[in-house]
Amino acid sequence: MVQVKLEFGGGLDAIVADRTKRLQVDAPVRTLGELITWVRRNCIREKHDMFAVSEATVRPGVLVLVNEVDWELEGTTRYELQPGDHVAFISTLHGG
């Protein structure tokens, strides 16, 4: 069990249960990849494919941040979560 803060931005909050932007959860996971699978099952209420199409990775156009840093710099799905980590899922915007 690891306690993490979740954030959904760029419109992703619309598909989260309670349409909330920020959540604090205790997730029975170890890595960021496992967290994505868990969030898809437990926090997303509709249009699950807007968050993640397959297991353990987000759909194209979603940027994952760990403590305000691009997950690419943290080992992506293999990153081992620490208690209190802030994980943000930000959908890229295209409008203007």
Binding site: D49, G61, V69, L93, H94, G96
Partner: protein
């Protein structure tokens, strides 16, 4: 008493009137930077909508010499709440034409080029080649990838903004060797049902307004950095700014560096390029403020204690500029020089120069005669009969 030398260095009257408030900003680079902006800088704005309108208005106001506008759309009434350069009378006019008129009304000195076409993979590289920097103000994912890829091939930095609903994002892509491109960060285009848009999801006009203005600010800093004038640095390279209009929060997050081996476009461009070849991002190095020529020993030395930005706008021939705060460590070398036995201190209105005189008398040998110029530059300008309006802006 020696006659005051005439006022010498001053940019042309219209430049002073039009740009004085921005030339005065510390680090801007004064009239020299303004001249470079006017004569050398070319900026392309792709998309003349909610982002492109405010960005273009501010860049025209700032005196960017050449602005290119690319958009194939016509103005619709539903655009007006956020596309602030257009009026009701512009409805159904071509956006590039209506925006051009708005920019030229604001600043007739700016040269505008219209590209009344949809930027496509075929046309993008040719369109953006003449420009220094590109602003992505488009409204769809396909255009964003097209503009990005062309920028990577043509080595143009890309200032990219987007807005939907109450959310906005801003980044500077493809800047320097390590700054990522858009495709480095978002390698795969999202499926169509996940691409939000202002038409489908709505947008509050202020949100693209905020982002478009910030885009213009970063573009201005970027071109000034590239031209080597002023003390500019594009501060957003490698980071993404997230704007949440609902909670009024701004924050920036760290992006990955350029993905030279995995990004589909950077891989091609950089594999073909020799690794040692640097991106052509820097032009001439900064030139320093006008050199202060020393006067013959018989004449007094005019010591101007105003900030360098004010000095650059107008000063006395041969005057030496040492800002008031720097006097203690910079003045002694001049005070001990035998050539300067007579120093006259000038500031804007003759007040700070009195304090400077007191300070310098403590630092100087007794033989040096130090006096204040009463009333400062304002008094000199009015005595000299310099054009009233010009003088008001210039000093």
């Amino acid at each position: 008493m020696t006659e005051h030398p005439p006022v010498l260095f001053c940019p042309d009257r219209e430049s002073v009137e039009r740009y004085s408030r921005q030339m005065l900003v510390q680090g801007f680079g004064g009239p020299r930077a303004q001249q470079v902006l006017q004569q050398q800088v070319r900026v392309l704005i792709v998309g003349c909508g909610g982002l492109g309108c405010p960005a273009a208005l501010y860049l025209a106001g700032a005196g960017v010499g050449c602005i290119g506008l690319a958009d194939a759309d016509r103005v619709q009434r539903s655009n007006l709440h956020r596309q602030v350069a257009f009026t009701d009378a512009d409805v159904s006019a071509a956006k590039v034409t209506a925006l051009r008129a708005a920019l030229q009304a604001r600043n007739p000195r700016v040269h505008i080029t219209e590209h009344d076409v949809m930027v496509s993979a075929d046309s993008a590289r040719d369109i953006l080649r003449p420009y220094d920097v590109v602003l992505d103000c488009t409204d769809n994912a396909a255009a964003r990838y097209t503009v990005n890829d062309a920028c990577v091939w043509e080595r143009k930095p890309l200032v990219s903004a987007a807005a939907v609903g109450l959310d906005g994002q801003l980044a500077v892509y493809n800047h320097g060797r390590d700054g990522p491109c858009y495709r480095c960060v978002f390698p795969v285009c999202p499926p169509p049902e996940c691409q939000g848009s202002c038409d489908a999801d709505g947008v509050l006009g202020m949100v693209p307004g905020v982002l478009g203005v910030l885009q213009a600010l970063e573009a201005l800093k970027l071109v000034m950095e590239m031209r080597g004038v002023g003390k500019w640095r594009c501060s957003l390279t490698g980071r993404l700014l997230l704007f949440d209009g609902r909670h009024l929060e701004f924050r920036t997050v760290q992006l990955r560096p350029r993905q030279r081996h995995s990004c589909a476009v950077c891989r091609q461009v950089y594999d073909e390029e020799e690794a040692t070849r640097a991106l052509p991002l820097n032009g001439a190095r900064p030139t320093t403020a006008p050199a202060a020529a020393e006067l013959p020993a018989a004449d007094p030395l005019y010591l101007d204690v105003r900030p360098p930005e004010q000095f650059a706008m107008m000063h006395l021939r041969g005057a030496l500029n040492i800002p008031f705060d720097e006097l203690p460590h910079r003045a002694p070398q001049y005070l001990s020089c035998r050539r300067h036995r007579h120093i006259r201190v000038v500031c804007r209105r003759g007040i700070q120069s009195q304090k400077a005189v007191a300070l310098l008398r403590q630092l100087a040998p007794n033989a040096v005669h130090i006096e204040n110029v009463p009333g400062g530059m304002e008094a000199l300008v009015s005595k000299r009969g310099v054009d009233e309006e010009h003088g008001k802006h210039a000093r």
